[in-house]
Each structure stands twice: as C-alpha cells, then as structure tokens.
C-alpha cells in the first residue's frame, strides 16, 4: 500500500514538472510573438516650419516642413482648409494657403511615416490675423434675449447665444473677427450673463448685462437681456408655450442636449429629438401650438 502511495506521488511530481516545463515554453513563445507583433515605432521628427503660435495673415502661404526629411513621407491632415500632402521621399515641404476669410487659430495635424508604414504625428497651432487694424467693428446682434429656468433663488443657466464681430476696412471687404485671438469679450455683469473667448453668451440669472467687444483698441457693445421662465416648454421665456418655442426646439432636432438642465430636452434623455417635440406640442398653451 505504501509502495502504491509512493508510486502515485512520484507520478504526480513528474506531472508537475511536465506542466511547469510546458508553461515556461509557452510563455517564451508568447513573449517572442508579442515582440514580433509589437507595433514598430514611428519616425522621430521635428517640425521645422511653421513654429507654434506663428502669426500669419489671411491669404498667406504656409510651408510645412519637417526634419529629418529623408526616409520618411510627410502628410498634412486635419487642417482647417485646405489639406495638403506630399508622399514622396524625401518628404517635400507641403504648401498651405490660408483662406482670405479665415481669422483665428488654425490647428495643423502633421503625420510622418516610414517606408514600413509606421507613423507618428505632431500638432502645430498657428494664428491668422488681419494685416491691418479694422476701421470699425460691428457686433451682431446688438440685443440678445436669453432665458434661464428656475425659481427666484436658484437658476440654471440654460440658453446660449453667440455674438459675431464683423470688422470693416476702408475699400476692402468685411472680415469676421469673432474668433480672432485679438478680439476680447467682457461681460458687465457675469451674474446675469457670461461670455467666453469666442463670443458665446450664457444666461445665468434674470437681468441685463452689457457685453463689450474690443479688437486692437476699437470697441463696441451688445446688450443682453436675460429673462426667467418657470413654465415647462416655454423656451423663449415669454410666458406661454407656442409655435415659437416649437421652432426653437426643431432648430436643435437630433442634437445632443447641452446638459442635464437643457429645457429643450423635455424627457431628459440627453438628446433633442421628435419625442421632445411631441411633448412640447402637448404642453402648448393653445390648440395647434398657435401663437397669441
């Protein structure tokens, strides 16, 4: 009996050894394969031109060049407009032309690849600004009416408007400076409405705020009137639910809600769609959602 037990233990020991050897072999093979299959690293390169933050003018030509250029191909993708590319070796500099009407930051995506196909990329942001200062700037709209939902003590900022800044030049066509890095926006009352770098105005609480817009020493203003609404579906805050509110909702059809409190997302499912439109028709103050 003892002999039998010792024989079984010996076999078991052998089996453990066999299992250990197989496991070790498998891990070696797996490591080898993993090394083989691992993605080849892309080429290391530096962007010679344009330098980060360089200021150009609308209509300027921008040369995108990388170093080293031998042994790699160069492609410029995902630039505002137009997209240029060069696939020869050595990587020939790519010429881009900034559109005459484009003002503001332009993000350029540069991709370099080796002959084997491995690639790496870099981003460079340049700025396109008018060569001469504007004679006058116009802010549109001059008056903006926004609405917030809530009670007299708690408000949720819900509606967003956008200001556009048009620069006028003597003898030349107008230029949209809304996204220019030289354009600044300032709210006189951030407790009523705030404004961001690109002129998006967000209603915060009922009241009046003046937005001052400046570009290279020239200023202009726009008045923002913020109303409060407590009626569900009253998207323009005029005290009733009607076709005007429906039109506001339909303009945003099949888009995502701006947040949990977006008044257009009436079923709070995160998207504004035909279901919300139907809910709003049921909330209308008059048949057919007729206006007053």
């Amino acid at each position: 009996m003892n002999l039998l037990a010792s024989a079984i233990i010996t076999v078991m020991h052998h089996r453990l050894w066999v299992i250990a050897i197989i496991t070790a072999s498998l891990s070696v093979v797996a490591g080898f394969l993993a090394n083989k299959l691992e993605a080849q690293p892309g080429p290391i390169f530096t962007v010679v031109t344009p330098q980060q933050g360089t200021v150009f003018h609308p209509g300027d030509s921008v040369t995108v060049a990388v170093s080293p250029s031998v042994g790699i191909t160069l492609a410029v993708v995902n630039v505002t407009s137009p997209i240029g590319s060069a696939t020869e070796e050595p990587a020939v500099p790519v010429q881009l032309t900034i559109p005459e009407t484009l003002v503001g930051f332009i993000k350029i995506h540069i991709v370099c690849a080796t002959q084997a196909g491995a690639g790496s990329d870099a981003y460079v942001t340049i700025d396109s600004e008018p060569a001469t200062p504007a004679q006058n700037i116009l802010v549109s709209p001059q008056s903006l009416s926004l609405a917030v939902q809530g009670t007299s003590t708690v408000f949720s900022n819900l509606t967003v408007g956008r200001l556009s800044v048009i620069a006028q030049y003597p003898g030349e066509s107008d230029l949209d400076l809304s996204r220019s890095s030289l354009t600044t926006y300032m709210s006189s009352n951030p407790r009523v409405a705030t404004v961001d770098f690109y002129g998006h105005v967000t209603a915060v609480a009922p009241g009046v705020a003046t937005i001052t817009v400046s570009n290279e020493g020239i200023t202009n203003t726009a008045t923002v009137q913020v109303n409060v609404f407590e009626l569900r579906g009253d998207l323009n805050g005029d005290g009733d639910v009607d076709q005007d509110d429906l039109n506001i909702l339909l303009k945003a059809l099949n888009t995502s809600a701006t947040g949990p409190g977006d008044p257009r997302d009436l079923n709070s499912d995160g998207k504004i769609d035909a279901v919300d439109a139907r809910i709003l028709t049921n909330l209308c103050s008059r048949p057919r959602c007729a206006t007053k």
């Binding site: 429906l246 339909l250 059809l253 099949n254 009436l266 079923n267 499912d269 769609d273 035909a274 279901v275 919300d276 439109a277 139907r278 809910i279 028709t281 049921n282 048949p287 057919r288 959602c289």
Partner: protein, 219 residues
C-alpha cells in the same frame, strides 16, 4: 424527456414569433422589394403597423432615415400621409409639421402631429402609410432601402420602440416596356397568328372537306 425538450423548444419559438407578430410596432416598406428598369421612377410606401388601433399606443411623431445606394437610385420626392386613409398624424385637421431632408444616399422624413392626445389615441388605426417616397432609377444594380429610426413618439410624448424591415429596389439595364407598347405587341401577334391559321386552313383542306368539317362542328 426528449419529447419534452422538443415541446418546450417549440413553444418558445412560437411565443417569440407571437410576440413579434402581435406586440411590436413594425416599420416596413411597401413593397419590400421591386424591380424597375433604368430611367423609370419607383414609389415605395413607408408603413407602420402594430400600433394600438383606436387605442393607445398611437403615433405622435416620427423621424426616420431611409438609406439607399445613390449610384443606383436618386431621391425624387416624398409625400406624407396614407394614400387611402389620409395623413394619420393630422386626423382632426389641426395640422402637422413635416419635413423631408435628402442627402447623398439618404432621405430623412420628419412629421410631428399637432393633434390632441385623445384624437390620436381614439382615431388612429393600427396600420397605415406614413409617407410615400419616389425614387428615380439611374443605373442598373440592386439598392437596399435601409430604415433607421431617429425618434418615434407616441401621442403622449413617450418614446416608441419599433422593429424595422428593410427593403430594396432592383434596377434592370433594359427598361421594361410600357403598357401601350405591350398591348400593341399582343395585338400584332394575334393578327399574325390569325393569318397563319387562315393560310394553313386554306392550303390544307379542299373546299368539300372544309364544308364537311364545318357541318360536323355545327352538329
């Protein structure tokens, strides 16, 4: 034991099909598939079925995209409403808001009823045509007609879930002959056949024999 398994399996399958057939709202195309020649126009109805039928759920709004192959078909127009029953999202005459937006290879149909909840729930049938789409066939091939639901709402403003049945249009290279052409061809064929029979009759049977045959036929 085996028999029980078979019976239970069969029941499960049957229940699944019953649920699909009775309980679900289905969006489909009518006809599901059809064939037309190049250069013709084809009508396809967008149908809904499985609604409550004069009881909830009724359809309050829909937003549906139909995708097709733009190299084979070209969207021509879309008409809302059932050709026989009328627009079932405008039952009480309060109107509806509708739009058709077409892009390359797709057309989006949106309609929102301004009818009251009660009107939709009590007057809308279970099955009807939402809209009729007209396509022009531009080249030979087979184009799928794939439906995708952007949103479907019932009368109350609750989202409706639905199954979709996609369809397709086959376009043949040789245009199918039109009806008048077919009639003309048939008439000419009949005329030729009649002349052929007459000539055979005249040549085959002498005058006396013909009389005998006719007499026998009269009897």
């Amino acid at each position: 034991m085996q028999r029980q398994v078979v019976v239970i399996g069969g029941l499960a399958v049957a229940l699944t099909f019953c649920r699909a057939a009775l309980g679900d709202v289905i969006l489909s195309l009518d006809p599901l598939s059809q064939v037309a020649g190049v250069g013709s126009s084809v009508n396809v109805g967008l149908e809904i079925s499985g609604l409550g039928g004069f009881t909830p759920p009724a359809l309050g709004a829909f937003d549906i995209t139909v995708a097709f192959d733009p190299t084979i078909l070209q969207f021509a127009m879309g008409a809302f409403g059932d050709p026989i029953l009328g627009d079932q999202l405008n039952i009480s005459g309060l109107g509806s808001i509708s739009s058709v937006s077409s892009g390359p290879g797709s057309v989006e149909l949106f309609e929102l009823s301004l009818d009251s909840i009660d009107a939709l729930n009590s007057l809308q049938p279970a099955t009807f045509t939402l809209a009729t789409l007209t396509f022009n066939t531009t080249s030979a091939g087979a184009s799928p007609l794939n439906l995708s639901i952007n949103a479907l709402s019932d009368a109350y403003g609750d989202a409706l879930s639905a199954q979709v049945q996609n369809g397709g249009i086959g376009v043949t290279a040789v245009p199918e002959p039109t009806s008048p052409l077919l009639v003309c061809t048939a008439l000419i064929s009949l005329l030729l056949f009649e002349r052929f029979c007459r000539s055979r009759w005249n040549s085959a049977a002498p005058r006396g024999k013909r009389r005998d045959i006719l007499m026998r036929l009269r009897r």
